[in-house]
Amino acid sequence: MKNYIKILIAIAAVGFVSCEADFENAVTDEGFYSSGTANFSNYVALGNSLTSGYADGGLYITGQNNSYPNIMAGQFALVGGGEFTQPLMSDNIGGLLLGGVQITSNRFVLGVDANGNPGPVRLEGTPTTDVLTSAPGPYNNMGVVGAKSFHLSAPGYGNAAGILSGAANPYYARIATSASSTVLEDALSLDATFFSLWIGNNDVLSYATSGGSGVDQTGNLDLSTYGSNDITDPNVFGAVYSAQVAALVAGGAKGVLINIPDVSSIPYFTTVPGPAIPLDAATASAVNAQFAAYNTQILPGLAGLGIITPEEADSRIVSFSAGQNYPIITDNDLTDMSGILQGQPFNLPPATAGLLGQLRQANSGDLTLLTAASVLGSTPDPSNPQLVVGVSIPVSNEYILTSSEQSKIATATAAYNVTINALASANDLAIWDSNSAFDVISSIGVPYDGGVLTAAFVTGGAFSLDGVHGSPRGYAYIANSVIDAINSKYDATIPKVAIGDYGTVQVTNNGG
């Protein structure tokens, strides 16, 4: 009897050891997917905020977990990819501390105000990530928030002592291996077998998000004269970028380059409509009466004196009508007339002269920045409700990207992309054309199993609440697109994620 029980137990034990329901060909089996001619065992991602997983105006853990390199690394794991480390923040609040003092803002969340209207609000709370106490790198994800092309190769960019003066970057200082190291050196020290490089966005983007406040440095090769909101000279970009690519491929690594999208394809520049000022007929004619002297005397007068061209005079006429109107704006590219208007024959008081100095009405060629939403129509002087921004006070330059500023950006972007394309070809690397992809997202959208991914702010799903950086779903789409580029270049069959499994914006109310 006992023997039979023993036999039964033995039979049972044999059965249970091997009783998992195994597929004939399991996705986790080696060889189910192919890495092609590339080797993903050690992947290093190099870039800026887009690479770091920055979103909603902050860097935070869940955003980093949904960075496109991290999503890609998850898929690479099916073709021999190894561990992918990221410099995770300490929380999901998003701000940075420097020696206990907060130096960057918290992230946005989608809150609901007292009237039930949803909108982006800064998350309340004290961040806990301190630049000075974070674990140094290098990490597989070497995306550094705010970095321009030349910053990746700049010694001292991670020197914490230079953060407050603007000479160094707190996000790199967190993880730099030394005060004099460069992002590129730290990345190279990982001996990547595969890399991605997406850099150059900020070489035009900071100019764009500042409303063209900086200088187009095209033609100026002296980096020491560059301001933070300037457009980088395309030759400077070409030189640093090609040196970076050369360093990355020197050890035989393969990789993918990503070009630069047009800034006009992101919601930061496309959400606030141009004609944002609603007026009834009576108000419109009253406002027009205020500008009558400007339109009919000052502008023709200055044109007659040869101070401005007749074309500029025409472009600066202000005219409101019943319905939605373009706001009046300050355009730095216009002739500054404030000095002349204080003299003969106009004799305007300095305040009025200053207001009219570079005044014009916005038009369909201008882009109104997301940040203008809270400014347009506001009355900054509580004692005088007649002073309305966009109607009687010009919207300042930092909120408007004019068509001439846009064309400077477009020219530089196109030049950078020529360099990126040429280096991809010359080094036989994969390339993802993010420029075309962003165009598609902002124009027709990308269908997925739960709808269509578009660039519409908050609702479109591709962008986070800062209007510039991706949402998790947007980054998942980027990861899939880069994987496509890698698969086709290296004859690999890396599977792609379901972007509908990735969220968009985080709803959360402060307090409670």
Binding site: I11, A12, G15, D22, F23, T62, G451, A498, V507, T508
Partner: protein, 417 residues
């Protein structure tokens, strides 16, 4: 001491779904060893379940059978377009049965049965690719059935009984594919209905056509488990008026335990051999939709299309009286899945299956028998999807390849007097 042990065992009852839908066909080791065929086999009080009419033909006055099975079931899932994969990590189920019959007179036998014909225990890793459909489910139902068996003559008898059911349902899934709280924890709901009672009935008949050939038929009624005021708990929901889920509310839901009709025969030949065949028809078409009605008006009701089809099972068994001491059994059955293509939910990931069974009875003296059985349940790999999940009115299929199996050893004791 023994009582405590018995209680401990009963509290471990976790019937694990391994047959079509959440039907668990493990209602007797002797029958199970013969492909779970037994509607026309007269050899023990397992007849309380298989065919009450046959009880009156048992030779002994008192017949008691108890048994337990260990269910080791596995489900693997993979999606080859994304590379996602998952495996269930389900607790070992231990469904029990207890049958007793007593021949009061030559023409009347009384009996009682306790058994667990329905159940499901499937547990995926939390937040797996299909977590918006199910993270884990635990469904249990215990049937208690007082039974009578009446002999009309040597060739014909009928029988039947009332069924009292007590069951419980536990279920957890994520609210959708993406919603999380601020820290990235997926928002989820847990449903718990710890004790649901219902009643039903069974009727059966047996025909002894010749000394060797019997025919039997049994019908067991449909029973709807009406969960009322169950507990629904919502966790990890972001703090926002846009997601107004309460931390707790109650729910109502109806879960059908479908009717089953069986017809079959047994044939004795060459003295020591017996062949049995059963055909089951399970009326799964009653399971159209799993609708969860939440008491809190802020929580949208959950409608989950099932549209099961009535399904058939074909069972074949063979018994051989090898020696005085040993009776050997083997069997096979083919179990049709009630699940329609396109409504293949990971909560009951069942396609058609083949069951291979074997077992033996060991006679310990005149009164005791030890019954052992082993069932290996084989499912083919299947490419399937659940298409009735919607986002913004748009169907979002959850598709992939499934592979399941189950290993079920069982042990029982029969007592005759």
């Amino acid at each position: 001491m023994k009582k405590i042990k018995l209680l401990a065992v009963i509290s471990l009852i976790t019937a694990v779904s391994y047959a079509g839908g959440y039907r668990v066909a493990l209602q007797g080791q002797k029958s199970l060893a013969m492909g779970h065929a037994g509607v026309a086999v007269v050899n023990s009080s397992e007849l309380v379940f298989f065919n009450p009419a046959g009880l009156v033909y048992l030779e002994n006055k008192l017949n008691i059978s108890v048994g337990v099975s260990g269910v080791f079931s596995n489900v693997s899932y993979q999606n080859e377009s994304t590379g996602a994969s998952a495996m269930t990590n389900s607790a070992t189920g231990t469904p029990l049965y207890l049958y007793a019959s007593y021949k009061a007179t030559d023409w009347l036998a009384l009996g009682v049965g306790v058994y667990t014909p329905f159940g499901s225990g499937v547990s995926y890793e939390d937040d797996w690719a299909g977590s918006h459909l199910v993270n884990n489910i635990d469904l249990q139902a215990i049937y208690i059935q007082p039974t009578v068996s009446v002999k009309v003559n040597e060739n014909f008898s009928f029988g039947g009984g009332f069924i009292f059911v007590n069951g419980s349902v536990g279920f957890n899934r994520n609210l959708n594919r993406t919603l999380t709280d601020l820290e990235g924890n997926r928002s989820e709901v847990t449903l718990d209905a710890p004790s649901v009672s219902a009643t039903g009935w069974t009727l059966s008949a047996m025909f002894n056509i010749t000394e060797q050939l019997r025919v039997g038929t049994t019908y067991r009624s449909e029973i709807i488990m009406e969960a009322r005021d169950g507990d629904a708990t919502f966790e990890n929901v972001p703090n926002s008026p846009l997601t107004p889920f309460p931390s707790a509310t109650t729910f109502n839901a109806d879960l059908p335990l479908p009717a089953e009709w069986t017809v079959g025969l047994s044939y004795e030949f060459c003295d020591k051999w017996l062949f049995a065949f059963d055909f089951n028809n399970t009326y799964w078409d009653v399971y159209e939709s799993l609708d969860i009605d939440f008491a809190d008006p802020n929580v949208p009701d959950s409608v989950n299309s099932r549209n099961y089809n009535t399904s058939a099972t074909y069972r074949f068994g063979l018994q051989y009286d090898a020696t005085e001491m040993f009776t050997l059994r083997t069997g096979y059955y083919f179990d049709e899945s009630p699940v329609q293509s396109g409504l293949f939910s990971p909560e009951t990931p069942r396609n058609d299956s083949s069951g291979y069974t074997a077992g033996f009875t060991f006679n310990v003296g005149q009164r005791f028998e030890i019954d052992a059985s082993f069932l290996y349940l084989h499912f083919k790999e299947v490419n399937e999807s659940y298409d009735a999940y919607y986002e913004n009115g748009q169907s979002v299929p959850f598709a992939g390849k499934y592979k399941s199996n189950a290993f079920i050893p069982g042990l029982g004791i029969t007592y005759k007097m």
